[in-house]
């Protein structure tokens, strides 16, 4: 086993430095069988580096070349390793650690089959060996502690077979008492701790060192993961932990030298882990919970928290609070059940007080403290536990009812305090602190406010009316004395009320009417919204925050306004008055939308003024951002939709007229510019039409019910359809809109890209035009819906314009513009196919015949398919590369074709043959490209096509199914080849479900041809993969063709694919 050619002396010299060359050579040598000897040669030297690399080599050989040793050598190695550990125990820490790692690696292989009772025996063996070699007891202790600290980490890192892992952990669990006895003896070395009579001497000695105590605490935490079975050991250990924490607290309170932050953090982490153990909490809640409440109820715990608050140390508070909070989160039900128990109520009260102290930790969260969000989850759990407790209580017993009432009262008192704490914590800090904070700090504060807002909801679920009373009283009082001196408090109160807005029932009729009376709205809220201040930036910031708070509060109670419609005439102006203030617009629009959404029916009486509001917004122009204008228009339209259909046209007239006038003005001004002008204003105005169209849609559920035949919904839609059809105003509007849209389509509108300086077609305008068509073309009636012929002609023209621009441009820049716009057009055509090709709906009376629709839409579809395939092909030299470069267009094209297949397969019959051929070619290419975006819709389309082609012959044959069968016969073999290649490893495994679905459709609908083609393809050598042998391929084919279950096909495909990828039989294949 000698290392030929190696000059050991020179190598040792080089490794003692160590040089890069030596380290490189060592890595090579470690792979050789003779490296076992090299390990011991290096360990025999006196140099620390060489000994380290010797231990490292030994560990590497045990891990990787274990089987190269015979049984005797393997057995003897254990003694060698223990000898090595003991020899290293008073040397450099790195060598000892590496020696222990080698020993741990050995143990991971041999325990328990060849080394039972590992931990006690190794501890004894190290001590024995140390005695034999005259080592000091403390040195042996260092070796033992180091091993105990390191072994759980090694076990976590190791890749161990699950059967071996289970046996190993079982062996370890049996020995846990011994391990924990040693480690707790070390941590009890802290001065002031109780004396442990039976502790090993080495543990007592090491316990005098703070560093070893910290390491022992961390080791305890590591060992806890293996799980302590039985409450005796668990409670004993917990008592030790809390006792030591008390001692540490005493040191911290006295400001002594032994108040080490690391030790506190380590002790707290171990205790935290124990108190988070849900298994123990489920089994021993009473004994553990009582112990902890009694111990945390002692003065030291409150005192140490008070000390942290006083010193303002987040780090210390975090260390102490973690375990307190964990206890509360894990033992919540126990806490609730004991809150009225005379034996523990005082302790529970102390505990809740500590939680409140943490919740109201001084400072502004995120800016100068980070602790006060920690207990919020506890308050949520406590509220839930109270609800469960009340639900489970015996309602027939007077005594039980009394206990429940006492419990609720006690919890209620705590939540009143919590409410005060949250309101104070949610208040914005001083202007100086806020302005001085960076973005992250401000974000943390706002994030905390959201969490605190959720906690306010928990408070509401406990206190209900009491909370409303407290907050309303406080808000009314504070608003009366509102000034820039107390704005933070007022804003925080408004935020608290806003947080519970959605939970307060409409029927609340006691406290909210005091806050939201017409008088209060007019005299308290409106003046704040309209106020202005001439102060500095900080005063303006304060006033704006308060105004936003007022408006957001009104929006949050939108459900409540529904039950109080008499107030809407005051509420809406209060909100909309914010529209004239740029900084308030966003909040005002958000609140306005919520109110419109919730109070649609109640606002119909005011629909006229709502429409006038929209006109005012239109006149205001840029003062209200375009996006916010659209939101207002959509909401106003939603309110108009709540009117009877016969009244809608008249209600809409002012705004539709104003919009049309503006659109024609814009068209004229853009057209007047030679070569085309800026179309942004025209686009904005068309977007408002689009917003109205969105708002005027019938709800999806009404359309769905009508499609399902619900008579009430059908008659509602029929009435609306008739009204929209007969309304002269709407007819004129639709005609004018169509004319304007046609003109806009032909406009030479160009824009210059600010960044690149390149001139391009205005994308937004075309997208906007298509969006108007999309949003007004619905299965149900729509006030703006264009007649089929008009809509089809418009979309056909749009497509022609787009293709003409692409073809005229010649350059790639304009090719890219086409790529960007093409998906929107494909989507629009898909929508038309869905709406107009579906089975005739009873409420649409003025539709052309299906044959005419098929012919018109089919012609457009054929053109679109042909042009799109040609457009994709222009993008690259090869078809595969082109598909790879344009996956989005491929996706939209096949989505459109799938939609056409599912709603009206006859559309494909009307397409030109060349277009169908191009589509089939493209689908074959898309199946070969490993792009998820392109492949999924392609596979979905082909599966749908193959399913429908199944009836392409025989009595049920239709022209459509005959065409689909023809496509299958011509291209099926190519599709099957691409599918099998994908399964065989060409595509990622995540795409297998799609390929399996396609294969399943082939086998199910065309069994004979699929069998024939599959046999031919799989007989090709190395297809679909060189790793799949003939037997595997035959088995795959037999299984796929003999099952009718898709789930089974997926499983068969998955298994065959792993064989093709050469990972079959490995855990990774699962």
């Amino acid at each position: 086993m000698a290392l030929e050619g190696l000059d050991l002396h020179a190598f040792v010299q080089a490794l003692s430095v160590p040089t890069q060359e030596a380290l490189g050579a060592l890595a090579q040598i470690q792979r050789q069988p003779a490296a076992w000897q090299l390990a011991f040669d290096l360990l025999a030297t006196n140099d620390a580096n060489c000994r380290f690399y010797g231990a490292h080599t030994l560990q590497a050989k045990i891990a990787h070349d274990w089987d190269t040793l015979d049984d005797d050598r393997q057995e003897a190695l254990r003694g060698e390793l223990i000898r090595l550990v003991v020899e290293s125990c008073d040397g450099p820490a790195s060598v000892l650690k590496k020696a222990n790692q080698a020993l741990a690696t050995y143990a991971l292989i041999t325990v328990p089959a060849r080394w039972e009772n590992f931990l006690p025996s190794v501890i004894d063996a190290i001590q024995e060996r140390a005695r034999e070699t005259g080592k000091a007891g403390a040195s042996a202790g260092v070796a033992i502690l180091d091993l105990l600290e390191l072994f759980p980490e090694e076990l976590n890192r190791a890749v161990v077979a699950s059967s071996q892992h289970g046996k190993l952990v079982q062996d370890i669990k049996v020995s846990l008492p011994v391990v924990l006895q040693i480690l707790t003896a070390v941590v009890r070395g802290l001065p002031g701790s109780a004396v442990v009579a039976d502790a090993a001497d080495f543990a007592k000695q090491l316990g005098l060192s703070p560093e070893w105590r910290v390491r022992a605490w961390r080791a305890i935490l590591q060992w806890l993961q293996f799980g302590i079975s039985g409450d005796t050991l668990f409670i004993e250990l917990l008592e030790v932990c809390i006792q030591q924490l008390q001692t540490l607290a005493a040191h911290q309170l006295s400001g002594g030298a032994h108040a080490d932050s690391d030790e506190i953090a380590a002790a707290s982490a171990a205790t935290d882990d124990m108190l988070s153990n849900m298994g123990m909490a489920a089994k021993y809640a009473r004994s553990v919970g009582t112990l902890v409440l009694e111990r945390f109820g002692e003065p030291w715990a409150s005192q140490v928290l008070a000390h942290c608050v006083k010193s303002g140390s987040d780090q210390d508070a975090m260390a102490w609070s973690a375990m307190l909070i964990s206890f509360g989160e894990t033992y919540t039900e126990f806490i609730v059940s004991k809150i009225a128990d005379p034996a523990l109520s005082e302790h529970v009260g102390t505990y809740l007080h500590m939680m409140l102290v943490l919740t109201r930790f001084p400072g502004c969260h995120g800016i100068d403290e980070g602790i006060s969000d920690q207990p919020l989850n506890f308050w949520y759990l406590l509220q839930e536990a109270l609800t469960d407790y009340e639900y489970d209580a015996d309602a027939d017993s007077d005594a039980a009812r009394a206990v429940v009432a006492a419990t609720r009262a006690a919890v209620g008192r705590a939540y009143v305090e919590l409410l005060k704490a949250l309101v104070s914590k949610c208040a914005f800090p001083s202007a100086a602190a806020w302005m001085g904070a960076d973005k992250d700090e401000r974000d943390r504060f706002m994030s905390y406010r959201r969490e605190a807002g959720d906690a306010m909801l928990n408070v509401y679920y406990v206190l209900r009316e009491d909370m409303l009373r407290l907050l309303v009283d406080e808000v009314l009082g504070s608003m009366d004395s509102f000034s820039m001196a107390n704005w933070q408090h007022v804003e925080s109160l408004l935020f608290a009320l806003r947080s519970i807005g959605e939970a307060v029932p409409e029927s609340e009729d006691v406290h909210l009417p005091r806050l939201f009376s017409a008088e209060a709205l007019a005299s308290r809220f409106m003046p704040v919204v309209q106020a202005s201040v001439d102060g500095d930036r900080s005063a303006q910031w304060g006033l704006l925050s308060t105004k936003t708070g007022v408006i957001a509060l009104i929006g949050a109670f939108s459900e409540w306004w529904r039950g109080h419609p008499e107030l809407l005439s005051v509420v809406v102006p209060c909100v909309t008055s914010g529209l004239s203030q740029p900084a308030l617009v966003q909040a005002a629009v958000a609140a306005f939308r919520r109110i419109c959404e919730s109070c649609r029916e109640q606002l119909t009486a005011a629909s006229e003024s709502m429409v006038h509001l929209a006109c005012d917004v239109l006149r205001a122009g840029a003062a209200v951002p375009a996006r916010e204008q659209q939101r207002i228009f959509e909401s106003v339209a939603e309110v108009v939709m709540a009117l009877p259909p016969q009244d809608q046209a008249a209600a809409l007239a002012p705004i539709t007229t104003a919009l049309l006038v503006g659109i024609y003005d814009d068209l004229a001004s853009v057209g007047a510019v030679s070569g085309g002008g800026d179309s942004s204003q025209l686009t904005d105005r068309l977007r408002l039409v689009d917003a109205l169209a969105r708002g005027l849609q019938f709800p999806d559920e009404v359309e769905e019910r009508a499609l399902a035949g619900d008579p009430e919904s059908v008659s509602a839609l029929a009435l609306a359809a008739q009204c929209y059809q007969l309304s002269a105003g709407l007819c004129e509007f639709r005609g004018s809109l169509l004319c304007a849209m046609g003109q806009a389509l032909e406009l030479p509108v160009w824009a210059r890209d600010v960044q690149t300086g390149m001139v391009h077609v205005d994308d937004d305008l075309l997208e906007c035009l298509l969006s108007v068509v999309n949003n007004s073309a619905r299965r149900g009636p729509h006030a703006f819906m264009l007649a089929f012929g008009d809509a089809a002609a418009f979309v056909g023209n749009a497509w022609s314009v787009l293709v003409a621009r692409r073809d005229d441009s010649g350059g790639r820049v304009f090719g890219r513009r086409w790529s960007d716009q093409c998906p929107a057009l494909l989507q629009c055509i898909s929508q038309l196919a869905t709406v107009f090709s579906a089975a005739s709906d009873r409420w649409h009376t003025a539709r052309p015949s299906m044959a005419e629709i098929d012919q018109t839409l089919g012609t457009i579809l054929g053109r679109v398919i042909g042009d799109t395939c040609a457009g994709i092909a222009r993008e690259a030299a090869t078809p595969a590369a082109a598909v790879e470069q344009q996956p989005v267009i491929v996706e939209y094209l096949f989505d459109l074709c799938t939609r056409a297949l599912q709603t009206r397969p006859e559309l494909l019959v009307c397409c030109e043959q060349a277009a169908i051929g191009s589509l089939c070619e493209l689908s074959t290419q898309a199946l070969l490209v490993p792009s998820r975006l392109a492949l999924k819709p392609t596979a979905y389309f082909l599966a749908a096509l193959i399913r429908l082609s199944g009836s392409g012959s025989g009595a049920q044959c239709t022209p459509a199914s005959a065409l689909l069968l023809l496509m299958w016969n011509q291209y099926g073999a190519a599709w099957l080849r691409a599918t099998l290649a994908g399964i065989g490893g060409m595509h990622p495994r995540s795409l297998l479900p799609n390929l399996a679905e396609l294969l399943f459709a082939m086998a199910k609908n065309h069994l004979a041809t699929t069998r024939q083609w599959m046999a031919q393809l799989l007989s090709e050598p190395e297809f679909p993969s060189p790793h799949a042998d003939g037997e595997a391929k035959r088995q795959f084919m037999r299984q796929v063709l003999s099952t009718r279950s898709f789930v089974r096909v997926k499983s068969i495909v998955g298994e065959f694919s792993t064989k093709c990828r050469n990972i079959h039989g490995t855990a990774y294949a699962d």
């Binding site: 190791a158 890749v159 988070s276 990622p988 495994r989 855990a1067 990774y1068 294949a1069």
Partner: protein, 107 residues
Amino acid sequence: MPSYFELYRKSTLGIALTDSLDDLIQAGHITPQLAIQVLEQFDKSIALALSTKVKTKAVIKGNLRIYRFCDDVWTFTIKDPTFKFEHETATADKIKIVACNAKRTGE
């Protein structure tokens, strides 16, 4: 060794990682065993990141159609859900929420 939930392997990130590992295995750059270790590390890291790094909250409202609690896993099927984020709203036809007990993670 602590085990973590494997459900995030079906996320976009997890699928992309698995696909990349497949490629590396097929090219012979890594062994399946190493790929498993990578995925286990992914399970751990994503669980940790989601529990400690993500502060975003959303309110989900919709019609609860199906719910069940089996093997410590809650499953909810919600029709027409609306997700309200801090600054935006999103909708869907149907979603399935699979919720596992985070406290078990790493135990």
